[in-house]
Symmetry: D2
Subunit: 341 residues, 4 copies
């Protein structure tokens, strides 16, 4: 059986496990106040090009989204996302459980359009009864998006300008950030993200770690009493070292970028493989998630030997499936897949 259904089917990059082993018996303070967290933060600050950035480690994506949103919004605020935003669709109401509405704008292959955002905000405040509605208090985007697509630098800057005009923070969910940064088709660097976003996170869970997301506030200020909010969200890991050691390793010798680049290379191969065999793509994804249109009969046949994700029905005779590569994908597995196709 071949496994391409997601980018979190293996454990962690072995360097991370080794470091966990090596440091295992060192007595360390809990709750993220250990030297590995400190060291990881320093390296991340350097990587993002903001030496005073505030960095914090959390365990998983949904948790990180709801913690950041809860910390940065007031009770009357909602958060703007696209209609296919992860927080709107796939987080079991975590944001609403924290008391906040997710306000939606159209999705353009997963992306939010800055002009549509500006229109929305202008129209919102033009209504004299707007205070009867949820006040937009944050913009949430993901990069790569749910569809593996990427914002251009100009698009991020345009969103940033609108947010700045309305004084609402721009929050970028980077659960798969490495794969976005290492794409062959991006002009966006980690520094660009820090330049344009008020807060973002560098995903570990899907990029080589057992778990862990590194939240970055480039401006250098954590939200007031952020530790309390993290604890309140059940997100304060007692053994913060688990996150610190992993991110410290990921940001040593560019490991995070190297393994992301590997996944991109594997994705490009996979793409070529499918393209050469005449398969069509549901959309052009420049990252590690590839969306292929399969004839239903082919899908049924392939399912016997390949795990992939059902994405949606394309038409009565075709199905869209998702193939993911990751830091762990090997050339051998791709070759096996090639033979199967």
């Amino acid at each position: 059986m071949l496994y391409f259904q997601s980018d979190y089917i293996e454990g962690a990059h072995e360097s991370l496990l080794k470091r966990l082993m090596e440091t295992n018996l060192e007595p360390l303070s809990g709750y993220g106040e250990d030297k590995y967290c400190e060291s990881a933060k320093k390296k991340i600050r350097a990587a993002v090009g903001y030496p005073n950035a505030a960095v914090s480690f959390l365990v998983g994506g949904t948790q990180t989204n709801s913690t950041i949103i809860s910390a940065m919004l007031s009770n009357y605020h909602g958060v703007i996302a696209t209609t296919d935003g992860h927080i709107f669709v796939h987080e079991a109401g975590a944001i609403e459980h924290s008391g906040h509405k997710v306000l939606t704008l159209p999705s353009h292959n997963g992306k939010m359009d800055a002009d549509e955002l500006a229109d929305y905000l202008e129209t919102f405040y033009a209504d004299p009864t707007y205070e009867h509605c949820v006040i937009p208090g944050m913009v949430y985007i993901s990069h790569p998006t749910e569809f593996g697509t990427l914002y251009s630098k100009a698009e991020l800057q345009a969103l940033d300008r609108v947010c700045a005009q309305y004084e609402i923070p721009l929050f970028l969910d980077g659960a798969r950030l490495g794969y976005g940064l290492m794409s062959n088709q991006t002009d966006v660097t980690l520094k660009d993200i820090a330049d344009t976003c008020d807060v973002f996170y560098i995903g570990g869970t899907k990029v080589g770690a057992l778990c862990g997301e590194a939240v970055v506030f480039p401006g250098g200020k954590l939200p007031t009493h952020f530790t309390t909010t993290i604890k309140q969200q059940g997100a304060l890991l007692a053994k913060g070292r688990v996150l610190g050691v992993q991110f410290d390793t990921l940001f040593t010798d560019d490991l995070y970028f190297k393994i992301s680049k590997h996944a991109i290379n594997m994705a490009e191969k996979l793409k070529d493989m499918f393209a050469k065999k005449g398969y069509s793509f549901y959309m052009d994804s420049p990252t590690n998630q590839q969306f292929i249109i399969l004839e239903n009969s082919k899908y049924e046949e392939l399912k016997k030997e390949v795990c992939m994700s059902f994405w949606c029905k394309y038409d009565d005779n075709h199905t869209v499936v998702r193939f993911c590569t990751s830091w762990a994908t090997t050339e051998e597995k791709l070759e096996e897949l090639d033979k199967l196709l």
Copy 2:
């Protein structure tokens, strides 16, 4: 420097790390639907003596408390705890953030008294306007308690009887459960806990794991849509294997019990050591947390070479400190401490 400040200063028991290494590259389903989670559940069901028990893995204590409470209470319900209950004091309002009040009863060295519980409930329902108040919907206890003390089997049974009479579930926070079960001064087995509690958890974070708490519903039924609640709480780990592999290892060859017993043995030695030197104890703890009364000058002196937890002021001249042993405490370290005292 010697480190006795808590039972989560080291990483994980090395068997767990080894298993994480060995299984690292196996492709597995996410979100706890892998074979290691399945295997761990089977072993836990056997260990608790309830072959049909429902088991679920979460990451940390506060998260587990708020997930269980959110899943089992209705909007009008509160949860009863003692005034020093972890959920009341040290969880940054996580329970209230989920919309539920923590109702309090007096603490007897960390324990709730069944008669006082019965009185409270009788008085509550005797008030004709009780519906203007939060309805008691669950009883929360911890075992060991915040003070390392333990319920007797008879005490658990008494609490169970009161809960049964009022049809409210009894929930036992077992963040340090191993240390309670392996105490020399307990008549409570894991089976007894399953017999008396509607839900409890077996703590991993403080008993040898990197992270992880195993929630057990002996009755065999998870709360409706429990996965949704877990996700909503940001507690659904993408790589559920991290929890599955660890608990599978902890419940293989009684590892969980053996390392807990080790911690108890170390605690007994530490206790003797202090007692022989004439130190007094703030309370008699039968588990891995020991509360010692130090003269302030001694405390200041000792602090230079030993990490311990400040607990409270005893009087103007004395301070109460906590020493913890754990699965990782070694005889050598105890001997070094002995020399210092």
Copy 3:
């Protein structure tokens, strides 16, 4: 100046104020446990044709919506509404503040389509990962809708069938219910609503009362500890008599229906008036809200002498405005308006 901007610009029908006066000094129990509430409930049960219906009085619409939703949903539940549903758009996030997501379906002039609802639910449960999403736990509709439109009896029955199949309650927001029931173009009776809905409310605020909404559970059972939920929502009026006396009067001698009928008659006149003068309607509303398309210049001119609600821009040269009639609209005012047009 003429006032047609809404149906709550006057106080209360004078019979209600008179009864408040007459009963003012009678000492009565608080919190809705007085004889006028009791009498009003009895009359409402008779009017809906369910002698065992459970009835409860709340103060206003948003409050009633969030109280009912909070009482009937579990933490993992969301409520399905159309994209223009009042709870989705105009309640400042009250539902999300209670922890619940509003799930949306397309609006057909304010109405939900039963087939689309069935499709949505079927698709939802067909996804094997549906537990990562908010579970649909209720269907919310309003009748009349935000656009003054009405469900037919067959449409309500169709929604009821889908809800029954999925065992989710159907909740009808009847803030303007009287105007719906008395429309010339409806085949829906109050009994039909009780037959098809699990819970609904009979609006008082917009139909002759100072304030007040009568919630009806035709099945006869209030949600568990409903009083506690009402209190928790800040919706338990100390002087429940204010609501009891008003609804008792509204349901004496069919006053509620008579004053609603009057508003409908006035709306029909107003409609004729506009139609005869060649104005177009934005949509065909069979109730007390009429949506007229005005040339912008006409709109500006009219604004000087008539209060109406801006609804939306129709095109660059036209504006849609809303005219409301109510129990308080007089023939004289209509004639004055006629002259102006």
Copy 4:
């Protein structure tokens, strides 16, 4: 039968009902944007001696408490009250439903002690792990308290000083404020309350209105998007006129103070009556609530002809009951009671 069980057993002072009648058919804007609300605000600003105070009208006490607390606290904040504070005991978890913990200090006949508050805050911030706990974000007191007792001016000033030092707002629940201000045993004026509190409300429901509480921010600034919070709490009355007209009347010609004074006079008579007959008082209340200790046999006898509130058991043979006077209490009724005793 005689009725003394509470101060909300009658409707409204008849001047208020008359004004509601007189203004009933005037077309007015909704949601508190009418001229009567405006006029009432102006009069209240004058009465409190803060011409720039911000004033807002809500419907009832629990609603007002949870709206103010929700508006002024951040997610990590709790509100400090005494153990018998209304928000802690009698509001069905409304505050926790909004996500906030109620932190408690001892009650001294219903009052909070400024020194204990200072100690609590000092101790709280001295704990280096305080961010694991709910951050104190507001102090809530009531005046009169649940026991009818009153703060002295010096006591209010002392609380104010502590709050100012820690930069947390002081919030005074004045559900029965009139009865406190008109007590014979107070040195506190309405201006003093405005001088010392950051926000307070002037209760209408228990002091002559059908419903309504006037919230005052002496500093002149409403919390950001307060209208949105009010709406979110289901507390935005469509016909705001109902509150505006009533408060406008209450603050015309000192009606609020005159009817409060009347209640105090009646309470003093009642007190004398009981005292002369040799009854003991559970505590010395200077306001309209009087707590009398009755022999159980006397209580049973009296219950047949007098409605009073059961307060608590005093001992096996005695019961504490509450008698309330109000704006509506007449001398005749007191004389009838006198005869019965």
